[in-house]
């Protein structure tokens, strides 16, 4: 059905055209909102079409490929394709952008720019997940920064200037280090290939014959670029600041999509290209240590937070650590679970940030000590919060569990009883969520803030959250819907050559 349709290009073009249309024609807030919603909706439909047309039995690693030469002299191609690792991310991106736009229905200030930026962000994120050429990969990677910077800087909280620029520069430095790694890949691989090429697959095909030291350096440079984005401790401090200041939709996309770019990069670039190296015990242990430190550190940091949103932000660090831990095992189970965790974290974190946004909106503050006993005032919000927290702490039946459990199983399989350490986080995670709930929605109604005007969620808040929760439950109950897509693509990575 879709053989002759350049659906991947359409996935980029539609939101781009949408962004331009919104920026040019969105003369009233209402018009901008509808325009953005329609274009992101079309993108979502396209991504769903992609999902259903993806062949599970295909022998090709990548499907829907589009490959055109772009800069001949440097061996740069416009090379797009999806496989089981990128496909869930593409769908997630289209979904979250669409829902975020809907969730931002009450943005009245500079709506046109806001909506335009969201769509540009979508272009960038989708591009990252579909690119198979390092050059365009990097281009999209950087494109993402700009709209996110503006989203934080314009619609952010009181210290948005600091947070936005910190986000921008911190992650930009990381990207630049990654860029150095890409250069090194390019120049080492080109002579081996006989012609210059930025193609990911082409470079990966010869990366095995790099010298060990060089491979290690390049691997580290690329890894650094990715783990700052994920972000892993100790390169994470941009994240809490960015999240706390970002508008809700910005946080949703930041945590839901931008962090995924980092872990996606680790899988797509680092361990795919340097497959032999990744199977070395030292590398696996190093990745695992970074992951575990982030898991535990993030969890402990969460417990100390008084800002609900900052807590959720730190929880992202903790949960992305699980992704890296899964990758570190280099087994089918671990890798598949890592991808699954990326997807599930995307859904869950969206719920959590939207919840935080609603608290900000309705109660006027997210400071836990100021809140309390709000469940009777806003039962829907409280319920959603609870479901989100439960999903995030890995409650079975919801999407977070299976990924977490699989990662830990794989960890035990490879690292034996060291799994004890990351598993501890399960208790701490439960502790901060449960404690936060106790202090915000349960107990006596707070007297520290004016609670007279607190009301429950609006339709445009409930609908996206309902969709997300529906998906959280769906993929929690039927994880194989996604696992079957992911598995064929991670199997070659886990294979020891």
């Amino acid at each position: 059905m879709l053989e002759n349709v350049p659906i991947l290009s359409l996935l980029l073009i539609v939101p781009f055209v949408g962004a331009m249309t919104t920026l040019l024609l969105g003369t009233s807030p209402k018009a901008s909102k509808y325009l953005a919603l329609v274009f992101s909706g079309i993108t979502l439909v396209l991504s769903v079409l992609l999902l259903f047309n993806f062949s599970l039995s295909s022998t090709e690693a990548f499907q829907f490929r589009e490959n055109y030469v772009w800069i001949q002299q440097l061996g740069i191609s416009y090379n797009l394709a999806v496989d089981g690792i990128s496909l869930p991310m593409v769908f997630l991106s289209a979904l979250l952008v669409f829902l975020s736009i809907l969730f931002s229905w009450d943005v009245e200030e500079r709506t046109r720019t806001y909506m335009g930026l969201m769509l540009i962000l979508e272009v960038g994120v989708l591009g990252v997940f579909m690119a198979l050429d390092y050059f365009i990969f990097y281009v999209f990677w950087e494109v993402v920064l700009i709209p996110m910077y503006f989203l934080i800087a314009i619609w952010g909280g009181p210290s948005r200037a600091y947070a936005s620029i910190k986000f921008f520069i911190y992650t930009h430095i990381a990207s630049l280090v990654m860029l150095l790694g890409i250069f090194a890949l390019y120049f080492t691989a080109s002579p081996l290939l006989g012609s210059p090429s930025f193609g990911m697959e082409a470079i990966a095909s010869v990366a095995g014959s790099f010298g060990h030291d060089l491979a290690l350096i390049v691997f580290s440079a690329l890894l650094f670029g990715f783990i700052v984005k994920m972000p892993m401790v100790p390169f994470h401090t941009w994240l809490p600041d960015a999240h706390v200041q970002a508008p809700t939709a910005g946080s949703v996309l930041l945590a839901g999509l931008l962090l995924k770019m980092g872990s996606y990069g680790v899988i797509r670039v680092c361990i795919t290209t340097f497959n032999d190296l990744s199977h070395e015990a030292t590398i696996m242990v190093a990745l695992a240590v970074i992951g575990v430190v982030s898991i535990i550190y993030g969890a402990f940091a969460c417990l100390a937070q008084t800002d609900l949103k900052k807590m959720v932000a730190y929880s992202s660090i903790s949960h992305m650590g699980i992704v890296l831990l899964g990758i570190a095992t280099m087994t089918e189970l671990g890798l598949a679970a890592a991808v699954f965790q990326m997807f599930s974290h995307g859904l869950i974190t969206a719920v959590l940030f939207m919840t935080c946004g609603m608290f900000q909106h309705k109660a006027g503050t997210r400071e836990i000590p100021l809140l309390g006993g709000l469940a009777p005032k806003m039962p829907i919000v409280a319920t959603i919060m609870m479901i989100g927290f439960m999903a995030s702490l890995g409650l079975p039946g919801l999407v977070g569990f299976i990924a977490e459990f699989s990662v830990f199983t794989a960890t035990y399989n490879i690292f034996d009883l060291w799994v004890l350490i990351p598993v501890m986080s399960v208790a701490i995670t439960a502790a901060y969520y449960i404690w936060a709930m106790q202090r915000t929605i349960f107990g006596d109604l707070t007297t520290k803030i004016d609670t007279k005007h607190i009301h429950d969620s609006y339709w445009f808040e409930t609908v996206p959250l309902a969709v997300l929760i529906g998906l959280i439950a769906l993929f929690g109950i039927f994880p194989s819907l996604l696992m079957d897509i992911i598995l064929p693509s991670v199997a070659p990575l886990a294979a020891v050559i």
Partner: protein, 489 residues
């Protein structure tokens, strides 16, 4: 033997138009007419140069077989095009900028002459023509800087520019004389041949000459520590002229360095490569670090220019065709990015918006087009894809990595590291401007009306920045040819 002067036609066109302008001024006392005429001249010249590039056929070099003086090859033509493009939008933006000034004809005439001097430099294959071209351009720009005679700051800037410029000319000339003394020739390629024949023996005079040449030409490029004039002069000069200096005159400095070092002194590159590397790192770092604290937009852009020059000097340190290709590419993109930024400053100065960055608060609502243009140009300067600055930095920095893979050149890796860290640092002050424009609220929300000519000048830069960023293939091709032509001698 009749000399074939056809290689000089483009320069001649410029000179003729420059000479004609005062006469035209006598007839039509309108800056717009003068600018229009100048644009015609520039356009004709551009067409000529473009014709050479597209056809791939170039006129014969001027001078005898053994003593070539000027040669119009792809390198020269490409740079001529860059200078002409800069002149084009500078003139366009000046059309209204100088409408209340006296001596308008001289103003445009000097721009054309400065451009002509730069073109001569691009064509020069002998130190004499090189020096002559340099001085033509320099003297014109001294005068242009001090063009507003009633302006205290303009006068001061002119004086400073002149003193440092003269000093640097003298230093360069002294270096040239030493070089002549060592090799007995002023032909650039000839110098290299002689030096190559001299073997690896080191000569105090030669090293002295290298130092003097770096210092003398480094002034034009605003190489640290010869950069200190630049911010003052950019601040004091009329805004379009600041653009001309940053986007044109500075690029001429790069041409000087390329010609002298990569052609004339390439045989002994081991002697100066590391020095060039040190200067590159120093230049980019000092430029960017000081730029962080600037409050005047022109000074900030000036320091940013210093930083950008540091990136370009990487090509000198790496000294491979690929690096030069990257550097040329970056010169081209920078001409549009930085020039465009100065044109925006000019346009805003024209409507009496101050030069303090804080004055740009809330600009996004007052002048949406200028704000978005500024944003794009600044992002391009910072190297954010998919804008042109990214692609050119991409090629330039990657050249350092490429070269660092050779065993005893591993240190070049650090050039790339330094460049990248600086790139990130520069983002900080660029973004600050963007933040002022988009995030902060201004004291007033009145729309700003800017003459269409200035808008057009900005638009040219922005469009070039985007187009080159998205479709860099043809430009990279030409840059590669130019780099090869340079190395071919």
């Amino acid at each position: 033997m009749a000399i074939d002067y056809s290689a000089l036609y483009p320069v001649m066109v410029m000179v003729v138009f420059a000479a004609a302008l005062p006469a035209i001024h006598a007839v039509a006392k309108s800056s717009r007419v003068l600018a229009g005429v100048s644009l015609v001249g520039i356009f004709v010249t551009m067409a000529l140069e473009l014709m050479y590039i597209v056809s791939g056929e170039y006129p014969a070099a001027i001078g005898g077989a053994s003593v070539e003086l000027l040669r119009l090859d792809v390198f020269a033509a490409l740079f001529a095009l860059v200078f002409l493009a800069v002149a084009f939008y500078v003139v366009l933006a000046s059309a209204r900028y100088v409408e209340k000034d006296r001596h308008q004809a001289e103003y445009f005439s000097l721009i054309l002459l400065a451009t002509a001097g730069m073109m001569v430099v691009a064509m020069a294959v002998d130190l004499i023509t090189l020096f002559a071209g340099l001085e033509v351009a320099s003297i014109s720009s001294f005068a242009l800087t001090a063009f507003r005679k009633k302006d205290k700051r303009g006068a001061e800037a002119g004086a400073k520019y002149y003193v440092i410029g003269g000093l640097s000319s003298a230093i360069a000339l002294y270096g040239i004389s030493l070089l002549y003394g060592i090799t007995g020739t002023t032909n650039i390629a000839g110098i290299n041949t002689v030096l190559a024949g001299m073997g690896s023996e080191l000569d105090i005079a030669l090293l002295l000459a290298i130092g003097l040449l770096i210092a003398g030409f480094g002034f034009k490029v605003a190489l640290v520590p010869f950069h200190m004039w630049a911010p003052d002069v950019y601040e004091g000069a009329p805004d379009p002229i600041a653009g001309l200096l940053a986007a044109g005159s500075k690029k001429m400095g790069m041409v000087l360095l390329f010609k002298v070092f990569l052609v004339g002194l390439i045989a002994i590159k081991a002697d100066w490569q590391l020095l060039a590397g040190v200067l590159a790192v120093l230049t980019m770092t000092v430029g960017n670090v000081i730029a962080v604290q600037q409050t005047n937009i022109k000074r900030m852009l000036a320091y940013s220019s210093v930083g950008q020059a540091g990136y370009m000097i990487i090509a000198l340190a790496v000294a491979t065709p690929y690096a030069v290709e990257g550097s040329i590419f970056h010169i081209i993109t920078h001409a549009f990015m930085k020039g465009g930024a100065f044109m925006i400053v000019a346009a805003l100065a024209y409507v009496a918006l101050g030069e303090n960055i804080a004055n740009y608060k809330g600009l996004a609502k007052r002048a949406p087009f200028l704000a978005i243009s500024m944003t794009l140009l600044l992002f391009a300067l910072a190297g954010i894809p998919p804008l042109s600055g990214f692609v050119s930095k991409f090629v330039l920095f990657s050249a350092a990595i490429d070269a660092s893979q050779i065993a005893d050149q591993n240190w070049m890796f650090w050039l790339a590291i330094a460049a990248i860290l600086n790139s990130a640092l520069s983002l900080y002050y660029y973004v600050r401007v963007i933040k002022y424009m988009y995030v902060d609220e201004g004291s007033t929300k009145d729309r700003i009306k800017v003459p269409w000519s200035m808008t057009a000048a900005v638009a040219i830069c922005v469009i070039a920045t985007i187009v080159i960023g998205v479709w860099p293939d043809p430009v990279i091709d030409v840059c590669e040819q130019a780099a090869r032509a340079l190395f071919a001698g």
